[in-house]
């Protein structure tokens, strides 16, 4: 059985890019992902205005 492919061999943290940015970038990412989670049940949520608002609130 081919078990040679193991993610443990790769220590890179997949979410490191989301956590390593400047404060405002991290906050935008956090809020956008939370919003996406809340609307995950919708097939095609319209979030453009909300995402623009999040970015504007964090970059002032």
């Amino acid at each position: 059985m081919s078990d040679s492919t193991s993610s443990n061999a790769n220590p890179i943290d997949a979410f490191e890019p989301l956590k390593s940015g400047p404060d405002h970038i991290r906050r935008i990412i956090e809020k956008v992902l939370k919003l996406e989670q809340e609307r995950l049940y919708q097939r095609q949520p319209h979030l453009n205005d909300d995402v623009v608002r999040i970015i504007k609130e964090q970059v002032i």
Binding site: T5, S7, I12, I29, E36, E38, Y41, V51, I55
Partner: protein, 692 residues
């Protein structure tokens, strides 16, 4: 999500309302089994979950008008309404939920002639840790957050159709991929990238709208204009110096001429004339300033005579009509009317003396012109004053014109004399005098040239300074814009950074996730299957089995049993991995749960004995809670041996048939034996549920 209980009422085979069927909780004995023969309602139970939670049912299972139990309809009278409903209680993240979906039907002449009364209605109540129950209006949103609809394939499935995961129809393929991506938050990352990209386009448009091209052009123009003004100022200063130099040279020449005995008198006369010229020039300038002042303050009056005439005509007409002067006050007329008596003593009674009263009343309007009269008197004074101003204006202007003419004539005479003197000196027989005067004339020409150039420079500077003021005003306005523009740029940069980071994370996570899921799937498949095949997860998250041959996996055609095993392994791997990621906090926000229930209808349907044991052993251990629907034959033997130690709850679905020649079917659970088929005491079929 933990399923707590289920209750059915007149739903499909289930006649009347069932008792509350509670499910075994997660733990040592997390399995709940429903035993039933074919047609007893096992698939109806599975569909009760999906119909209630998502409003969907297995393909071809439940037509809308078949929701209501036939026996209940038959027992109802014509025009009676019958409700079919399903109620599920569940727990999720410290909250208790009760969801009930109801379809109301009205019976017609026969039970076959039933009319649906609207769409099914879903009600959801929930209670938090405080124990207070609340109604939730956005039911689909709430359920969608707990367990998104397209994930239900993994948690509520029909074992006899489970191979669809391996051999999906074209339209199902994307659903399976989406469900997998959603469970592991990949869908969230995809959507975030899509939505932040759309937001970035909006921010780009805003940035362009604010635009800096105009500011740049203005700054460029300002710099050019300032350069020109500086250049002209420099030239004016140079010309000033030139003129000073020329004037000194001219003074020196005049001094020398004055010192020459032969022409001294002529030179002195010239200097006297030059003084006169300066005085006249000053006088002329003075007159010009005074004319300007007069034009500014009084010239307007010459345009008013027509308006004054019109005014007089209007007032005269009013006088002729008797409207002016207004010799009577409005209040006085009103007093007469209220006393109903005229000053002449005549009655002004409303009813009897209507004509007399009307005459007195007409005075009210005329009395109203008292205000107009006051204004007319004041205005009359102003009009008269205007006419005085007009007369004075012409007199003063004539006076200035006379002075100007006198000055000009005098100046012209002086200049003629000066020219004559100059000519006299130029042609003087005295040595030195002619060349000196010639030199002086050249100097004067040079001064004149310089002054002309200076004037031209000043004119250019004036125009440019005007333009500079305009540019500065525009720039000031644009500076506010510039701040906005910098902000828009920072926002745009932030959006770009966010997209880049999410894309990077997504690609890392996807690679890691595919490796982990493949590994998990292969381990599980290896435990269960005795074939040498290797399962593979494609880029689109669909499944296939490959035959390891010379290290090169090749697609193989899987049997139905093999496909079912693979699908069950996939579901098991997905659930286990989701739980592992959750436990290791190695996840993004997504469907939030650390407990996953699995509801399986006939999962051992077409499997041989070995596979039955393996599936029973391994798959049921992956989920926190398992609800199984099985027939007698699916249960007996390997499955029973594997699972009996982990059963927490068991129910019998007893099927009542109207047929008389029934072959008995019983199931042994523990030491007891239960009949799965019974004769119906009336002429319709139905099912009842009872706990073992």
């Amino acid at each position: 999500m933990r399923l707590a209980s289920l209750r059915l009422s007149n739903f499909r085979q289930f006649r009347g309302t069932t008792p509350e069927l509670s499910f075994a909780p997660p733990g040592e004995r997390p399995i709940t089994v429903f035993f039933g023969t074919n047609g007893a309602g096992k698939t109806a139970l599975l569909n009760a979950f999906t119909w209630t939670l998502y409003g969907v049912t297995s393909r071809g299972f439940l037509l809308a008008d078949q929701v209501v139990n036939k026996a209940a309809l038959r027992e109802a009278k014509k025009s009676d309404t019958v409700d079919a409903w399903v109620e599920i209680k569940f727990e999720h993240l410290d909250c208790n939920y009760v969801i009930r979906r109801t379809q109301r039907v009205r019976r017609g002449d026969t039970e076959a002639d039933a009319t649906l009364l609207g769409d099914p209605v879903t009600e959801l109540q929930w209670a938090g840790p405080d124990g207070r129950w609340r109604s939730e209006t956005s039911v689909q949103d709430t359920i969608g957050r707990i367990l998104p609809e397209d994930l239900h394939t993994y948690f509520f499935f029909d074992g006899e159709r489970i191979e669809r995961l391996v051999q999906p129809r074209e339209e199902e393929r994307a659903d399976i991929a989406n469900a997998t991506r959603k469970l592991f938050s990949l869908e969230i990352l995809d959507r975030a990238i899509r939505h932040v990209s759309a937001a970035k386009r909006t921010l780009e448009a805003e940035y362009q709208r604010i635009g800096d091209a105009k500011t740049v052009l203005l700054i460029e123009e300002k710099r050019k204009v300032e350069d020109t003004v500086a250049h002209k100022q420099q030239r004016v200063r140079e010309l000033d110096k030139n003129i000073d130099g020329h004037r000194q040279a001219e003074d020196e020449i005049q001094n020398r001429l004055r010192n020459l005995q032969a022409v001294r008198q002529i030179q002195e006369r010239r200097e006297g004339l030059q003084d006169d010229k300066a005085a006249r020039s000053a006088s002329l300038s003075q007159v010009r300033s005074e004319v300007s002042a007069l034009l500014s303050s009084r010239a307007y009056t010459i345009f008013l005579p027509d308006a004054c005439d019109t005014y007089r005509r209007v007032v005269d007409a009013m006088r002729q009509r008797g409207e002016l002067p207004a010799g009577i006050k409005k209040q006085f007329v009103e007093d007469l009317l209220s006393k109903n008596e005229c000053i002449c003593g005549r009655s002004l009674d409303h009813e009897r003396e209507t004509d007399a009263r009307a005459v007195v009343e007409s005075w009210k309007n005329r009395a109203g012109l008292a205000d107009v009269e006051e204004k007319a008197i004041r205005m009359g004074g102003e009009v008269k004053q205007l006419e005085v101003y007009t007369d004075q204006f012409w007199v003063q202007l004539d006076h200035f014109e006379e002075r100007r003419t006198a000055d000009r004539q005098e100046l012209s005479r002086i200049e003629e004399n000066l020219e004559r003197i100059s000519e006299q000196l130029r042609h003087s027989g005295e040595e030195e005098v002619g060349p000196l005067e010639e030199r002086r004339r050249q100097i004067l020409k040079a001064i004149e040239g310089d002054l002309i150039e200076q004037g031209s420079c000043r004119e250019v500077m004036k125009g440019h300074q005007e333009r500079l003021r305009e540019i500065e005003a525009a720039l000031e306005k644009h500076q506010a814009t510039e701040a906005k523009q910098q902000l828009a740029k920072r926002r745009l940069d932030a959006a770009r950074d966010v997209i880049e980071r999410i894309e990077k994370s997504k690609s890392r996570f996807e690679a890691k996730f595919r490796v982990d899921l493949t590994k998990k799937l292969r381990t599980l498949f290896d435990k269960i299957s005795y074939t040498p095949y290797v399962p593979e997860i494609t880029e689109e998250y669909s499944l296939c089995l490959r035959e390891s041959a010379g290290g090169m996996p090749l697609p193989v055609a899987a049997s139905q049993g093999e496909s079912q095993i693979l699908s069950l392994c996939f579901i098991g791997a997905v659930i286990e991995l989701a739980r592992e990621y959750q436990a290791r906090k190695e996840r993004l926000p997504g469907p939030d749960s650390s407990q996953y229930p699995v509801v399986m209808d006939s999962p051992f349907g077409s499997l041989g004995p070995t596979y039955r044991r393996q599936v029973a052993d391994h798959i049921t251990r992956l989920a926190d809670q398992v609800i199984l629907m099985v027939t007698n034959t699916q249960w007996r033997g390997e499955v029973e041996q594997s699972l009996s130690g982990r059963i927490g709850k068991a129910y019998i679905l007893q099927y009542y048939s109207p047929k008389s020649d029934l072959s008995a079917e019983t199931i042994e659970v523990g030491v007891a034996s239960y009949e799965l088929i019974k004769g119906s005491p009336n002429d319709f079929e139905y099912t009842t549920v009872s706990e073992v």
